[in-house]
């Protein structure tokens, strides 16, 4: 993978993440991300064929809990903190289109 990322790609990722950024910020973030990606790309130069991919840094697996119900939160208390509620449900602006 190349260490470079274009302004367009950064703008696309920002829009996917619902971040609104200015042109100046776009330039700044593009430069910064290029540095980050170049650093990461140095790993590709190493011979890693014998190294197991690592999903996360902790030496843990199968951390599980028993299937027992614990009390849930009080609904009124939770909904009181939401911007809007109706009929015991969270009320949000109309969703555009289908859920993915």
């Amino acid at each position: 993978m190349s260490g470079e990322i274009s302004r367009d790609e950064v703008a696309h990722v920002a829009s996917l993440a619902r971040l609104s950024i200015t042109d100046d910020e776009l330039t700044t973030f593009t430069d910064q991300l290029c540095v980050v990606l170049e650093t990461a790309a140095q790993l590709n130069a190493l011979d890693l064929d014998d190294v197991e991919p690592m999903a996360q840094p902790y030496p843990l697996a199968n951390v599980l809990r028993v299937d027992e119900i614990v009390p849930s939160l009080d609904r009124d208390e939770v909904l009181a903190q939401a911007p809007a509620a109706e009929d015991g449900r969270f009320r949000v602006p109309p969703a555009l289109g289908e859920a993915p």
Binding site: R65, I69, V70, S72, R89, F90, R91, P93, G97, A99
Partner: protein, 479 residues
Amino acid sequence: MSDTTETKQVLPDGWEMVIGLEVHVELATKTKLFCGCANHFGDEPNTNICPTCLGLPGSLPVPNEQAIHFAMVLGRALGCSVEPGIFARKNYFYPDMPKDYQTTQYEEPTNEHGAITLPDGRVIAIERAHIEEDTGKSTHLGGGGRIHDATATLVDYNRAGVPLVEVVSGPEMRTADEARAYVAELRDILLATGVSDARMEEGSMRVDANVSVRPTGSDELRTRCEIKNINSLRSLGRAINYEARRHVDLWTNNDQPTQETRHWDEEGGRTTSGRSKEDAEDYRYFACPDLPPLVPTAETIADIDSSMPALPAARRAALAEAAGVAEADTLLAIERGLDGLACETIAAGGDATAVMKHVDQNLAEGQGKLTSASFAALVSMEADGALSSTQVKTVLAELVANGGDPAAIAASMGFEAMDTGELDGLLDQLIADNPDEWGRFLEGDNKVQGFFVGQIMKATQGKADGKVVNQLMRQRAQD
């Protein structure tokens, strides 16, 4: 399956369907996948919610061991290899997921490379069966329930975080009936293993169908559409046939389908365009840093395999062998969970044909307190002519409801065997009283046969066996 979709040709000559199914199965756990909130359908909205399933800052998910166990049991039941699994975040913005991502398995699913064998012997590949969390339930206000005209959306997070396994088939089905047989088989596997209650109408089993068409015999894969909102096996068949015809129409008119998600409209009998795939496909998956991998040990898998209950395919084969029938004739018995009873009853000496007849016709409510020993004894009484078929049904219903000894029940109900001598006497009397009718019978008028049987039934209060009366009359006519 009752209403077949294949009695008439669905597509014009030269075209075939390519169908792949994605089935979301809710696991029958007590709690959600990553928190201790109840996994319970139909509760008051937002009563089963906590910081974890609401995605509040500082909360941490911990997988439910029962959910992971169920997922691996299902994997093994589907013949999958159960591999180390890694949870990933599927990032998207939609109010049904308050975290703005769904935790799922992407590159490293727990189950891969299995298959489902259909009752007709066809094998459909399972590409993967991965674990993920369900989303909340949104209700769109205004606009007559139509998403695009809604004025607001209400969200209930009771379902958010409920454990799911998504079973993904290869694009290997060629007809709507085959797709329905696949879903029915998967449902029976889920019920046999107890992994899910598999209720399509309650949404604990949800089927999305990927449909495309191609020239018959070709191996190309053309543009497909994903159909959602299918709530029954019947809808599945209708939706697939509608969509495949729509594709053929487009291709034969120098047009082509657009890759998109479409909604099945049950009332209108058609699919309608939903979200276009292009702008939503960029989910930026990455491994979830909060969740360590799931690494099944060889011992775990051996334990699952050794305690696996008999699965539908094996049960069909066993019953077909025991009863001497085709596997296709065992489906109802399997669906009703009566195959074990049928095999044991036949082994205990019950006539196979009679046992299968009662299983299919008279035991729709299940086995109840009926045992194989009492079932076999009853079938023998029926074969000996000791009970009429109406009486057998009555005794059978009593055995299901309360159990007991069929001979004792028959006696207590006054179903004593009518001996042939007694019937002979009654018949003699009837012939003497109704010489005209008897004359017509002798001349070959079979309609009057019913008159004599009816009169004898009346005189014996239903205790006589109609078949025996018919035999006696025919013997008499030949003498």
